[in-house]
């Protein structure tokens, strides 16, 4: 009930090819996240699936049938927008009921479904308010409520958390993950935030300039990034990408070492440098090391209790088994 297949889908705006031919299969019940820097075409891809944009070429199939030329409403998908796109003049109840009303459903059934959705989303006390009287998180839940009452084949989320403050974002992230666990329906989620991608996804699709760089589970992407772009994009803080002599000693053009894969010492190690900034987070300390001769700055994630300060000399030793090697084209070398 929600297997989505993109078959050589392309999109052009005039002469600009935003999405070159692209193949992708999203299995039923999968939580798929499209992630990439802004302007990479991830939102466009979502809008193509939704039917808000027409495909230039190729086919979109939902559960085996071609929907490429169907209007959005007929595709059986529901979408949550970045701005929530609630109808400001309608009460929360009417907002959630709107798609059902448009489908010509009986009012008793509408009421049952709206009440059900409201209790799932903790909105029961707010049903008679207007969107303008709600907080950001509540508005977000109304938008989700409007999506779930339709019992769609798949949910589409377009950067739904980017308008929330940091604390609320973590909470809503959990709520959406829980919702997915409960509904077990297909969800496509677009974000530029790799933390959201890593924490929520069953499958991450990393996009750059309309091209899929890699598809895989969060840990696959973390452990075996296919190229330097994915290596740099997934993981926080970013992976250190080192070129030159150090890389050559590993028979690679570029080597990548994640900040958490260094052992630090004051006495001795493979490389040495000077601590420029140390950021103490309590649980961890991020050290920005300069003067190693490897790159402008090397980020190291050390234990929360390490005592390095600005100007201290530090010795770094990479854990050999966690070194990623890439060739001159930036592709992974095994």
């Amino acid at each position: 009930m929600g297997r989505i297949v993109l078959d050589k889908v392309t999109k052009r705006f005039g002469d600009v090819e935003v999405i070159p031919p692209l193949d992708l299969t999203i299995e039923d019940g999968e939580f798929t996240v499209f992630v990439g820097p802004s302007g990479c075409g991830k939102s466009t891809l979502l809008r193509l699936v939704a039917g808000l944009e027409d495909v230039t070429g190729g086919q979109i199939q939902i559960d085996g049938s071609d929907v490429s030329s169907m209007p959005p409403a007929k595709r059986g998908l529901a979408m949550v927008f970045q701005s929530y796109a609630l109808y400001p003049h309608m009460s929360v109840r009417k907002n959630i009921a709107f798609p059902l009303k448009m489908a010509g459903m009986k009012s008793a059934e509408i009421k049952r479904r709206v009440d059900n959705a409201a209790s799932v989303l903790n909105l029961t006390d707010y049903l008679d308010r207007r969107p303008g009287q709600l907080s950001g998180g509540q508005r977000q839940r109304v938008a989700i409520g409007r999506a779930i009452v339709r019992e769609p084949a798949a949910f589409l989320f377009d950067e739904p958390l980017s308008n929330l403050d940091a604390a609320l974002r973590v909470g809503m992230r959990l709520e959406i993950s829980e919702l997915h666990e409960r509904l077990k329906s297909t969800m496509i989620y677009v974000t530029h935030d790799q933390v959201e991608a890593m924490t929520m996804a069953d499958k991450i699709v990393v996009l750059q300039a309309g091209v899929i760089e890699q598809v895989g589970s969060p840990l696959e992407l973390y452990r075996t990034p296919r190229n330097t772009f994915v290596a740099g994009f997934i993981g926080s803080p970013k992976m250190n990408l080192i070129e030159g002599a150090a890389a050559a000693s590993y028979q690679a053009h570029t080597i990548g070492i994640r900040p958490e894969h260094f052992d630090v010492s004051a006495e001795g190690g493979k490389w040495s440098g000077t601590v420029n900034v140390s950021e103490h987070l309590g649980s961890d300390t991020f050290l920005h090391v300069q003067g190693t001769g490897l790159a402008d700055s090397i980020t190291v994630r050390a234990d929360g209790e390490v005592a390095f300060r600005h100007g201290d000399t530090i010795h770094l030793t990479p854990r050999e088994e966690h070194i990623h090697r890439f060739d001159a084209k930036g592709l992974r070398v095994e």
Binding site: A50, G51, P72, A73, F81, A85, Y87, F98, P99, G132
Partner: protein, 288 residues
């Protein structure tokens, strides 16, 4: 920065404007009230003394009073209906991306720049003249008898002329309102399965309600006092005598300043009743 000193300085600097505006309003109002209680016939003896409420009773009991109220309301109502409905349609049309949008928008606004007297004369002589007007030619082309617009359909004619003048104003305000509609809302309603009519009815129209309110309020204020359009077309004949035109006739044609002033006071009361009535209906629209 609102210290005692800056606040009194602000009051000082505002004073000239306030005094001027107050004088502008109060002097004519007081003179109108003063004359409305007098028998004052400039060409037939001048000031003939106080007469109490005589002018007020005479004005209302005149056979042209109620027809003038009726004509006023029909014209205001008709023009409002036409400008709001067509204003919304035009605004939606102009909101669509098209070639030469800037020029088309300029052209749509153009009628608003034409003086009422000029546009009325153009309509009367070039379009509505039963012998050589464009409409007459059109009617004859289809083999019909040309309509004597100004006598047979006097009120609709004036409504048509005034609507033509005010349509750009309504269109302009409604267009800016439509442009402020969040496109994600329309897309959301599209995803929700709303066909185009429902999208208009449930999303666009409620979004426009505040702008429609503003259009109705402002236009009502100006339409209650239209004069030039009637003066140069029917001259108040054929049932087109509005309240303001009746007052004009009493003061200038019958040279009865007292009677006209009493009519003026009635006009003030009518305008206020309409204003309060409108505010009540639409006030809650402006609230949120």
């Amino acid at each position: 920065m609102a210290t005692q000193h800056s606040r009194s300085a602000a009051r000082m600097m505002m004073a000239p404007a306030v005094i001027l505006l107050l004088g502008w309003m109060l002097v004519p109002l007081c003179m109108t009230l003063y004359f409305s209680f007098k028998k004052y016939l400039p060409l037939r003896g001048g000031d003939l003394g106080w007469v109490g409420f005589d002018n007020y009773t005479r004005f209302v009991s005149s056979s042209s009073f109620w027809p003038s109220i009726y004509a006023t309301l029909v014209i205001v109502g008709g023009v409002l209906a036409i400008t709001v409905v067509f204003g919304i349609l035009l605004a939606i049309l102009l909101d669509q991306p098209m070639w030469g949008q800037g020029v088309v928008r300029m052209l749509v606004i153009a009628p608003f720049f034409v003086m009422p007297t000029v546009s009325s004369l153009v309509w009367k002589n070039m379009f509505m003249d039963p012998n050589y007007g464009l409409f007459a030619h059109l009617w004859r082309f289809f083999g019909a008898e040309p309509i004597q617009w100004m006598s047979q359909a006097s009120l609709p004619s004036i409504i048509m002329i005034v609507s033509w003048q005010w349509l750009p104003f309504a269109t302009l305000i409604l267009l800016t309102a439509i442009q402020s509609l969040d496109s994600e809302q329309l897309e959301a309603s599209e995803m929700d399965g709303a066909p185009i009519i429902s999208r208009f009815w449930y999303i666009i129209l409620p979004h426009l309600s505040r702008a429609i309110t503003v259009v109705i309020l402002i236009q009502t204020i100006f339409l209650l006092s239209i004069f030039a359009e009637i003066f140069v077309t029917t001259g108040g004949a054929f049932g087109t005598k509005t309240l303001s035109y009746l007052i004009f006739q009493r003061v200038l044609e019958s040279q009865n300043v007292g009677l006209g002033s009493a009519g003026g006071v009635y006009a003030i009361i009518l305008a206020n009743i309409v204003a309060i009535f409108l505010m009540r209906i639409v006030g809650k629209n402006l609230d949120n």
